[in-house]
């Protein structure tokens, strides 16, 4: 073990080494004016020299003046789309002479490798693990995808203005296990990655790469780059004390702040879809015209829909006030009782991808202030 130096020009060797192990490599790539997660065939598919500018309800990609490969923050996609599929068949059924026959779905599950997983995202995956495989009721599809997952984590060296992992204690430095962890360093004319293995498989890949041991100075430069991201967040408007979230929200379930946010919220569900930890899904049962064949599909759902809380007679949460309150209280408070951690990792996706710029950190502040009034 130890920290090694991989020249930026050799980054493709990493991707090819992982591919040669039979992994389907997915990671950040530029598409339709955003840095999305999709299949990568080579280092050239990465958003080389691109960054993003994010604020409430807006996201733009911009050219950087250097050739950084990982010089941007969380984008519209999260890794959950590869582990908890947006839509998947659960089972099929066929009418037969002997009644109904249930047909199992045979899923071809790829050996996935995620390149460029940020610290907050490792936390998000760990949170989803607790939901889907941490207890007696496991989601088989998730479990299969998760089992052979290879992760290359990347330390954040610059934060978007929407990032607040510092407040949630989930970044910017990678602390959770990954197969490989990297820090990108751009210093003068030099451009390299500090890379270290975190598993046997990771070490094996590392051995195939043209790396050399990193010097103390180089490691220090890497740490300084990560500190830079911390400083950006510490000085930014979204830094807050999250230690009392549960008590705060439990005390304020009738806060007038919920009415104010409900005036603006579209109950469109973009926040929950973009959130890397939101795990809710629904099942859709249907038949064909003949009624001989039936299917059950699982699909992402959100507490912002009326169907989500629909029981005989109507929706329990018919209005936006109760839906927004459910979402925010679940993320920051009830999640702690349910799964023993916060449901928010501070990635800022819900802030940027909310069409009307509703900001969870601002709502925390508002609730706090209105309580004092």
């Amino acid at each position: 073990m130890g920290t090694f130096l991989l020249d930026a020009r050799d980054l493709d060797a990493l991707i090819q080494a992982i591919r040669s192990q039979g992994h389907q490599v997915v990671g950040p790539t530029l598409r339709d004016g955003a840095i999305v997660y999709d299949e990568l065939h080579a280092a050239a598919d990465l958003p080389h020299g691109w960054t993003d500018e994010q604020e409430k309800g807006t996201y733009r990609v911009l050219k950087r003046d250097d050739g950084a490969y990982f010089g941007y923050a969380a984008g519209p996609h999260s890794w959950k789309k590869f582990l908890q599929l947006p839509r998947r068949p659960v089972w099929q059924a066929q009418k037969s002479d002997s009644g109904v026959q249930i047909l199992e779905i045979q899923e071809a599950v790829p050996n996935l490798a995620f390149i460029g997983v940020r610290s907050c995202e490792l936390h998000a995956i760990a949170i989803q693990d607790r939901v889907f495989i941490g207890d007696q009721y496991a989601n088989d599809s998730y479990a299969k995808r998760r089992a052979n997952l290879f992760t290359v984590a990347v330390n954040c060296t610059s934060a978007a203005s929407t990032c607040f992992c510092l407040s949630m204690d989930t970044g910017p430095q990678v602390t959770l296990p990954s197969d490989l962890a990297m820090t990108e360093v751009l210093e003068g004319d030099e451009h390299y990655f500090l890379i270290s293995g975190g598993s046997e498989q990771g070490e094996r890949i590392l051995q195939q790469l043209p790396v050399q041991p990193a010097s103390e100075h180089q490691v220090a430069l890497g740490n300084r780059a990560i500190d830079h991201a911390s400083e950006q967040m510490a000085e930014g408007p979204r830094n807050f004390d999250s230690s009392d979230m549960k008590a705060l929200l439990y005390r304020n379930f009738e806060s007038p702040a919920w009415d104010l946010v409900a005036d603006r919220c579209l109950s469109c569900a973009n926040c929950t879809m973009a959130c890397p930890t939101c795990f809710c899904s629904t099942v859709e049962d249907s038949t064909d015209l003949s009624g001989e064949h039936a299917e059950r599909w699982e699909r992402w759902d959100s507490c912002f829909t009326g169907d989500f809380s629909y029981i005989t007679g109507g929706s329990v949460r018919a209005d936006t006030r109760s839906r927004y309150r459910q979402w925010m209280t679940h993320k920051l408070a009830t999640w702690q009782d349910q799964f023993g951690s916060s449901g928010c990792v501070g990635c800022g996706r819900c802030i940027a991808w909310c069409p009307v710029g509703i900001d969870i950190t601002e709502e925390v502040t508002r609730i706090r202030e209105m309580e004092k009034q």
């Binding site: 569900a269 003949s290 009624g291 169907d307 009307v356």
Partner: protein
């Protein structure tokens, strides 16, 4: 919201399906014709008792399932929709015209006599109502299938559901959910393009955002929409003109009460009908 409705009675004979046309372009009925393979399957399951677009056979009622296309714009149509309702066990409206007045509901915001005078050489031959309204303004409707035009996959789903007495899987949530399921990059947030997705009923599969343009609400309002907040952000943050906002509220579903009220409010006019 999935609502159970009166179910089709079991009978020895095949259930009778009827398709009815009111004021419309026929596009939604075409979606049914467009089903091709499934149409043959459908013909095995039901007796097609009335479908003028496909066949001149017209069988008398009662009908087990009536699909109604088009809005109500004439006194004759007002009468006919009641008759059809009385003859139908289940009545499903299909498309923007039948569910929320269609494009022709633009007359609701102006004087129809002025249109008639401008278009027809002999206005005295025209016997029309001042408004274009959805079937639901006249009779009880068991299910509304939105879209301009409707999507054939959803139409088959609704027919299958009513034939087999199960709730149709036609979620009333936003287009944004479909957009996110599809992995689209949000055109509103990433490009600053005004998009009606957050207030629009799902069903199309977020086609427009997938081609980098804004949704223009052809499926009408979703459940629990917040048009005020959307219109505010379009104008304040995305720089949309008021005329653009009104045009989008009045595309194909201007008589949907939520869009009607919102567009009148934008105009600064009163909220009355």
């Amino acid at each position: 919201m999935v609502q159970h409705s009166r179910t089709i009675e079991t009978a020895e004979t095949k259930p009778k399906l009827a398709v009815w046309k009111f004021t419309s372009c026929d596009g939604c009925q075409l979606s049914l014709l467009d089903c091709e393979d499934e149409l043959l399957q459908l013909a095995e399951q039901v007796e097609i008792a009335n479908f003028m677009e496909a066949s001149s056979v017209q069988l008398p009622g009662p009908y087990d399932l009536s699909l109604v296309e088009g809005s109500i714009t004439t006194p004759e149509e007002e009468r006919r929709i009641r008759e059809i309702r009385a003859q139908s066990r289940v009545l499903v409206t299909i498309g923007a015209c039948a569910t929320s007045g269609g494009i022709q509901a633009l007359r609701n915001f102006a004087e129809v006599d002025d249109f008639i005078a401008a278009v027809y050489a002999h206005p005295e031959y025209i016997d029309t109502l001042k408004t274009s309204t959805p079937a639901s303004a006249h009779v009880a409707v068991d299910f509304e299938l939105h879209g301009c035009p409707i999507n054939k996959r959803q139409l088959l789903e609704v027919i299958s559901a009513f034939l087999h007495r199960r709730p149709p899987q036609i979620p009333a949530h936003s287009v944004c959910i479909e957009c996110k399921l599809r992995g689209n990059v949000c055109v509103w947030v990433a490009h600053g393009t005004p998009c009606m997705g957050p207030v629009t009923h799902a069903g199309c599969g977020a086609i427009c955002p997938a081609y980098n343009r804004g949704c223009y609400a052809c499926y009408g309002p979703k459940e629990n929409p917040n048009t005020d907040s959307l219109c505010h952000w379009w104008q304040q943050e995305l720089g949309a003109e008021k005329a653009t906002v009104i045009e989008n509220l009045r595309n194909f579903n201007s008589a949907a009460p939520i869009f009607d009220v919102a567009s009148r409010r934008q105009e600064g006019g009163d909220d009355q009908d």
